[in-house]
Every structure is written in C-alpha cells, then in structure tokens.
Amino acid sequence: MTTAAPRNRTPLAQTLSRLRRTPSFVAGASLMTILVVIVLLAPVLTPYNPTKVSPRDRLQPPSTEHLFGTDHFGRDVFARVLYGGSLSLPMGVVPISLAAIAGILLGLAAGFYGGWLDLLLMRFVDVWIAFPPILLALAVVTILGTGLTNIMIALGMAWVPYYTRMVRSSVLEARGRVYVDAAGALGSGNARIMLRHVLPNILTPVMVMASMGIANAILAGAALNFLGLGAQAPAPEWGAILSDGRQFIRQAWWLGVFPGTAIALTVLAANLLGDGLRDALDPKLKV
C-alpha cells in the first residue's frame, strides 16, 4: 500500500472515502444528481410550457421538435416529464423526511425514558404498523381530501411507525454503552445526552432506512397520483401524466413509455443510493 490513510482523518472524511469506494452508491448518486439537474434545468432544456394546450399538435410522435412527442392536448411530453420532476421528486423526499423526524422523536422518547411511555408508544406502533401504507394513505386522503400536499402528509404518516421502532431499538442499544453512562455521571442532562450522545448513533440506520424509503415513497406517491388522488389536472406529476394519457396509450406509446421510465429511473437511483449507503455505513445489514 503506497497511499496509507493519514491517521488524523475525521469520521466524516472516512465515511466519505468509504462511500466513494462503494460502486452502488457512486452509481446511485451520479444518476440521482443527473436527474435532479435535468429537472432543475427544465426551463433551459425545453422551450415548451408543460401545461400549454395546442390542439393542432395533438398526439404527435417523438420528433426533433417534440423529443417525447405530444399528448392528446398537444402538450409537449418532454416538457411535462421535465417539469413534472419538480412535483414527483418531492413525493419521495418530503414524506420520508416527515416520517423520519416523527419517528426519531417518538423512538427517542420511548427508548430513552422507557417505562409506561415506552409501553404505550410501542403498543400504539404495533397498531399503526398494521395499516398497509397505501391504505392508510387512502384513509388520510378521505379525511383531508385529494391533493399533492395531502398525499405527502398521508404517506409520511404511514411510514412513521417503522422509524419509531428502529430508532427505539438503536436507542436501547446506545443507552447500554459506557460513554452514555459516563455522560450521565458527569452531570449531563437528559436532553444533552440524547442530542449529543444517543442521536449520532441512530442517524446511520435512519439514513439507510430513509434512502430506501425514498424509493418506496416515490413509487407509492406515483401510484396515488395515478389513482387521481394527488396532483390535479393539468399539473404534470409523473403518475398523473400516466393516468391522464391512459386512454391514448394505444395510439401513442410515448405517453406511457417516457413518464414511466422517468419514475423507474428515479426509483432505481434511490434504491442504488440506499444499497450503497447500507453497504458503506452499516455492513451488517447487507442483503
């Protein structure tokens, strides 16, 4: 070995170098970056307005003028898919962030304080986890009504118990460690112990779970939008584009192929990222 690692590298630098050597992480991160950049650059990459109706250009096949063809309203599909990304990508990130934050708070409380609070919270989690995410989301949409924001809230709620369970068990594990006892003995308060000593320990499993969760949330979000419960016409969310163009896919394959591929590529990137993070940060979970 000619390039021995310098001794005083920070944990962050070590983690980054481990991530750089994990092929699935590199592939996932690159693909995700490309997708995000394309979505952000939509106004530069296409001159078309994603919602502008142009009856004359109805159902045109892909051409140099319309890269992904046009839909039954003559709207440019390339523009719709590109702009749709800014509605569809948050479908993965927002619900999972909500679920992870709520799960961390509940799991920390249950694991750290224990006792009746733990018992009560965990029995509630047992009940909560029994509701299949899509169905729980359907129930929440029945209460809140349809719409993109409501779907994101609904999906976020559906995934909270998974994070709560995982965080709680990580907290229980961390609590048994010597340095947590030491911090207590040195007079640190509960809040300080939780934030400074316990929280950093649970962030790795949460990150791994969240990155995989993003893939599932994008799929579930696209499905709910496809069912017509989220984005309302003419918003170009990917699932909504598919359900919108559904009756015309027979004559116009491009209405199905492109938005679907966009969803699949994004989910693939999120899955690769998740696999990579897990392999690099938490090898014992490796599947």
Binding site: R123, F124, D126, V127, W128, A130, F131, P132, P133, I134, L135, L136, L138, A139, V140, V141, T142, I143, T146, A215, L219, A220, A222, A223, F226, L227, G228, L229, G239, L242, R246, I249, R250, W253, G256, V257, G260, I263, A264, L265, V267, L268, N271, L272, D275, K286, V287
Partner: protein, 306 residues
C-alpha cells in the same frame, strides 16, 4: 409450542382492538359528518337532516358512538355505504375473493421468479450470474407495478392480442399477477440470496460438505429448508405492500376487488366503505403475521425461545 402460540395470540387481541379504535377515530375526525357527506347525493331539509343524525346516532357523545361501533363490529356490522346504502360487510364479501385471487397469484409469480433467482445468485456468489441476477432484481424493485401493467396491456393485449385484459378464468389473471408480483419477486430474490449465503456459511453445511456430500444434496436438504424462512418473512413483511399494490393494479386492469371498491369510496368520500376496507386489511395483516410467526416457530424451533 402451544404456550408460545397462546402468548402470541393473546398479544394480538389488544392490537386488534387498537386497530378498530383507530379506524373509528380516523373517520370520526372527518370534518362534517356522515349526513352532510350524504348530501352530495340527496338534498334534505334541515329538520330531516337532524332526524337522520339522531337515527344514525351521530348526536351521541363520542365514546357512546365508539361503544356502538365496537359492539357492531362484534356482530359483523361494518356500517352502511353512503352511496347505495349497501351494508359494507356485503360489499367487502363480494369484492374480497377477486383481491385474494390476485394477491395469491402475485405471490405465486414472486416465488416462481424470485426463489430460483435468489438461490442461483447465492450458489454462484460473486460471479457474473450473481451480479446480473441482483441487477435484474434491482431493476425489478424499481419498476412501478402499475406502469408495468399499462405497458403489458399495450403490448400483449393491444398490439399482439395474446392475453385478455378482462374476463373469467386464469388467462386474464396473468398480466395483473405479473404486474403485482414482479417487485415482490425481486424482494424475495434478495432475501433468499442473503439467507442462503448465511446458511451456506453455517457449521452444519460445512460438516455435510466435509462428510463428502456433494453441493447438490447439501443445498437440497439443508439450505432449501432454510430458504423457506425468507419466503415466509417476505409474506409477512410484504403483505401490506401486496394489498396496497393490489389496490392500484386492480384499477389499472379495471378488475373487480377491494382496490377498485376503496378507490371509488375515497373519491366519493364514502367513509364507511373506506373504514371497512382499511379495517379488514389491517386485521388481515395482523392475522397473516401471526400465522407467519407460528410457522417460523414450526420450521425453526430456536425462534420460540427468543
């Protein structure tokens, strides 16, 4: 064994009760009540609305309504749909078999595709077969099932006319089962591979190999049995995903079932139907996982003592 199952069963009772209470409150929280929700269909005078409210018990205090709801559940009364006034239990009974058929067929697809893929990947660990198998699995979990369904309809029905989209018998079941099952098969392949790799490293496999048994009998006798565990795990873990997926796939293929029932109910804000289907799905989830736990204990006695 009996003691273990008894304890497990006992723990299930409060969970089931909890599910019923949560479902009740979820719908009780809807702004506006059942009567105003019905008003989208018929118009009633205010005094008639008040009468209907009294008759439906909506004026009672919340805990009385909860008590009535739970008592109704015990008698199999899941309420009445706001639209058409059919008993919810009957609607669920009529639609359940089609959903069950679809999910079982999808599980079949998952096992047929996923189990061999996972086993081959594990037995040829770190070879190109392993790598390509796992790449296929990764793509499998990344493709939205409903989109796969749409594409299959386009190619296999519309273009080539090979498979029917609707109708009776097995043939119209093929495409929806694949659309729902492909992601599950990918999950199963990954689980099987991981669990088989673990088993292949265990002492008893090494002993069997040391005794001079070839790879084939070793794998068949020991490892295959151990591979049953991931199938079970997947079934327990993925049951919720499968039911959720069925909701979407049924809509793609315009199949009858709980999924199309509940989607229509959500759009109409037909609370009792949504409530009923969600309740049934959650109870099924608990029962499936109870069965899975019992089967674990049966296959691997070590699990019981945890």
């Amino acid at each position: 064994m009996i003691g273990y199952l008894g304890r497990r069963l006992l723990l299930t009772v409060p969970v089931l009760l909890g599910i019923a209470i949560v479902v009740f409150f979820v719908i009780a929280l809807i702004p506006g009540d059942a009567v105003s929700a019905m008003m989208t269909q018929v118009k009633l005078a205010p005094d008639q609305m008040a009468l209907l409210r009294r008759q439906l018990g909506l004026d009672d205090p919340l805990f009385v309504r909860l008590g009535n709801y739970l008592a109704g559940l015990l008698k199999g009364d899941l309420g009445v749909s706001f639209f058409g006034y059919h008993p919810v239990l009957r609607l669920i009974r009529e639609n359940f078999p089609a959903t069950l058929e679809l999910t079982v067929a999808a599980m079949g697809v998952a096992v047929i595709l996923g189990l061999p893929l996972g086993m081959i990947a594990a037995l040829r660990h770190n070879t190109w077969l392993d790598l390509s198998g796992m790449t296929v699995a990764l793509i499998g979990i990344s493709i939205p099932g409903f989109w796969l369904g749409l594409m299959m309809i386009q190619f296999f029905s519309v273009q080539f006319g090979w498979l029917p989209i609707t109708g009776h018998g097995l043939r119209p079941l093929i495409m929806p089962a694949i659309a729902l099952g492909v992601a599950e098969s990918a999950v199963l392949a990954r689980l099987t591979r991981a669990s088989l790799l673990e088993v292949l490293r265990e002492d008893f496999v090494r002993t069997a190999k040391a005794k001079g048994l070839g790879m084939r009998p070793v794998v068949l006798r020991h490892a295959f049995r151990a591979a049953l565990i991931p199938v079970l795990t997947m079934f327990g873990m993925q049951f919720g995903t499968l039911i959720g997926g069925a909701v979407v796939i049924e809509n793609v293929f315009a199949r009858q079932g709980l999924g199309t029932l509940v989607t229509k109910a959500v759009i109409n804000r037909d609370a009792p139907v949504v409530q009923g289907v969600v309740l049934v799905a959650a109870v099924l989830y608990v029962l499936v996982n109870l069965t899975v736990d019992a089967l674990y204990a049966f296959i691997d006695p070590r699990i019981r003592y945890e």
